[in-house]
Subunit: 296 residues, 4 copies
């Protein structure tokens, strides 16, 4: 298929490459042009503007995780998208923007799919992403070759595009709940004199053998949160999008609120660039365990 691809960050770049490998014709654009040019040797055509990337393609994929960045790009390129073509937004954006885009594209005779993903850059590189696609079922079906080139499995979230965004935000929230619960549990264990490695072993060799427990448990046990698997500042952003969706729907989410406070406190302590599981530092601090200072 002829595909435009905008947003070539840690996730977007490997996703675009996988599309090229699968034989699709890509026109790419990125704010920092050099990242687009890195795909030229693989066969991508580099566009000079979002509008150029959007012109004459059957599908325009955006992989932008910031509402404002996506709004800017789309306001530039919307009129260049052909009638009948589809915009696939794969970044973690707000449900509100997804709903607005859905309407805006419909008015122009274009299609819109929200298709956020679960997985990190390594999964993107290995084409092992989980893709959650919401929007008109036939359009999703038509784009299946694209999804298959990028992910291991594509779920149909429903005919309303924003359903996919809700599911994505909720999935991220479930991870933060795991992190927060581990943070509190490790604070208790450590302060109670339990060996943290023993604790980690018991958990991960019994009921909590899933990778999320193993990975974040290991970080929290060691009190080392760099390099970040997912930056804390992004965790705050996703939490904000979740709470906004919950507010619109009139759904109280007390645990999400608790997590919000952790992220704000962590930002205030200068942990924006650490892994989002670094909120465990706050749990340790509150318990009077001053590990980092001792280490410093």
């Amino acid at each position: 298929m002829k595909v435009g691809f905008i947003g070539l960050g840690n996730m977007g770049a490997p996703m675009a490459l996988n599309l090229i490998k699968a034989g699709h014709a890509l026109t790419v654009w990125n704010r920092t042009r050099s990242r687009a040019e890195q795909l030229q040797p693989s066969g991508a055509r580099v566009a000079g503007s979002p509008a150029e990337a959007a012109s004459g393609v059957e599908a325009l994929i955006t992989m932008l995780s910031d509402d404002r960045a996506l709004e800017d790009v789309i306001s530039d390129s919307m009129d260049s998208i052909a009638a009948g073509a589809v915009h696939i937004s794969m970044g973690t954006i707000s449900t509100r923007l997804s709903r607005r885009l859905s309407e805006a594209h419909r008015e122009k005779g274009q299609h819109y799919i929200a298709a956020p993903v679960l997985g990190r850059p390594d999964a993107a590189a290995a084409a092992k992403l989980f893709i959650i696609a919401g929007g008109p079922e036939e359009q999703i079906g038509r784009c299946r070759p694209l999804f298959d080139a990028m992910g291991q499995k594509t779920f149909f979230a429903g005919p309303e595009a924003e359903a996919a965004n809700v599911i994505k935000l909720a999935a991220n929230f479930l991870i933060t709940a795991v992190i927060e619960s581990l943070a509190e549990a490790f604070a208790l264990a450590r302060k109670s004199g339990v060996d943290v490695n023993t604790f980690l072993e018991v958990l991960t060799q019994s009921l909590f053998s899933a990778p999320i427990y193993r990975n974040y448990g290991a970080m929290i046990a060691s009190d080392i949160f760099e390099p970040a698997s997912f930056r804390l500042a992004l965790g705050l952003k996703d939490n904000r999008l979740l709470l906004a969706a919950a507010e619109e729907a009139r759904v109280p989410m007390p645990l999400a609120g608790l997590v919000r406070d952790r992220y704000l406190a962590a930002m205030a302590q200068g942990l924006a660039g650490a892994d989002w599981s670094a909120i465990a530092r706050l749990a340790y601090h509150d318990a009077g365990l001053h590990l980092t200072e001792a280490a410093g």
Copy 2:
């Protein structure tokens, strides 16, 4: 080994049976005598009192999940336990009682092991429990044949018995965090118009394939919380023990506090006998989703 076994509830009975099957000589006692007599055909000797169950055995196992019940039983039987024999407390009791028992037995020249378990009655029946054992390492080693007969794996929590209780309580807490996060996530999804079965499928076929997500997710998606896999009233009890341990150690656990409030509210709504994941009903209610009423 000659073993006394006190506490033949849903967990204790299959555990005792597995010990008999493995060739150990059991003297059993239960407050409701009929439950003890059910083990007679399998070869258990039924004691007339806790003291009798404790007399002349190398190991006295108690499987009582209530501090008071354990205190009563031990105050009756402590003097009957032989010097050098070991008391293995396998129920979910408070860290404080575990610490006290540790001292009390030591003063009598007896040994004490805290060995709470992870797993439900079906795991107990299948000898698939995870056993977390804390106390003198050599005593734990000596009792290994017993543990091997009841569980699939035994962890050494450390030389302080109460470390095992801390780990057990923390593990249960991690499960409640999963339940609470699922409750909030499903309330959001449902209120946002996402199909809950689709939501459940996306979660459990991507990052959240672990049984705890599958089992509790299915209950919450269906809004059916009976029969209970673990009674909500017991969830509140374990949460209380956790918060008591956290208070003693001066460790704030805000998520555990949030869960506490859910359990109290659920008890107030008459859900004591439902599965502990029934706190999702509160999340649904707070979001204005009156499912049960509609169903009633």
Copy 3:
């Protein structure tokens, strides 16, 4: 002084009237024109547009409690404000908008004062408002005759306009904390069999004799939340502005988060139009006290 006044709701109308009574020349505008015309007999000139209200005045007062409404009005009228004239924004708006307006006016050679108020319509009518004024001190001094005509006391919040907005939002937050604490306390008292009128009497005749405790305590004791002294939907709005200010400043406010959840749950139960102390209904419900149903 020659004054433009935009926003003649329950608060704005009596404030404008007090300015007229004090001898100031008012040109007024309101989206619903009839509310502006009601001030004509008192001597107000009715403008046909925000721009007209802003033209040729020394001070333009806006009493709009919604960021968007204020943005719309100001984008229409900004160019009509004379250089050297001052815009006094007296509604409860976001700190972010206040900061933006401060800059925008400065660029135009205009002045900006944020002057939100504490007090309800009856205090506005009696010219008994507390006014919290932030911005250039000399401008605030120049506008003192206006403030004196509307309020009983004007505080200088500091040279940064938005400081006044922060203080206003924080003050409202303190009231919500009183409401939430009363809600929980009454739920406990009632469920424990304490007579709620006795409880209210003990509180308000001892340490808690301040009007906020008396007024909200009486509503909560009687479980009657209408007519609203302040609509719950507005309480949620102010809470949202507070949390936004806190997020920008990286300040976790867990109690504000808890209150947010109460307001969302209350909205979901259809309480948007009730008094903001109606969150007590949720506390009663969570405790298993189904008062309203019994009453219904």
Copy 4:
């Protein structure tokens, strides 16, 4: 009246003195005998044991704020209390213990009144306490001369003694809510660049002129929490009693839970002896405001 008085701490000593001044005959006992002897010059008779203090009196007043201390004293002295005499428990004890004492005294043909107080040592010295009395109305009437000698006002909480304890605990909880809300509000104001003294002035000269706001606001604004008006460790104890009462009654109190976590964190930071408003240090810390370190 002939009165026994047990518990001569900062509160009990001035209360006993006021009873003596009012002409009552006091027999006093205190664990640390020297504190009892300090009342001898004023006319008190010093008992050698709780039982002696309880013998032959019409009323036995206990001013002990710790359940265990009260239990010890009463188990020693209960049989010495004459039939028809009344035990007035004025300390802040659990509702559970109050209920138990009520029954125990009834069985012995004795009377029991719970009469906790609102007010600090200075109010006790000035006989300005607020007394909340629960129990048989005629007994409370009979003891009125005693209450009048110690307080400015006595409330009748109801015929169930424990109602008085519930009200006392709830009143203390309302104070902690004020403290927590001020803590968060000052953290926001300070971090946002608002002058904290200005902030304090606006609050206390407008809607929040009550002494609780003035006193705790001043401490929090200055970040000085010593000397303690009420020790943080006692605040935690009262919070624990509140949460226990709430748990028994099946009443979730999320704000009380939040306060609990603050107190635990404060204890973990070594603030047990500071004023209970020192939880503001945690709010400051979480916001990245490291005031104390800067001051150190």
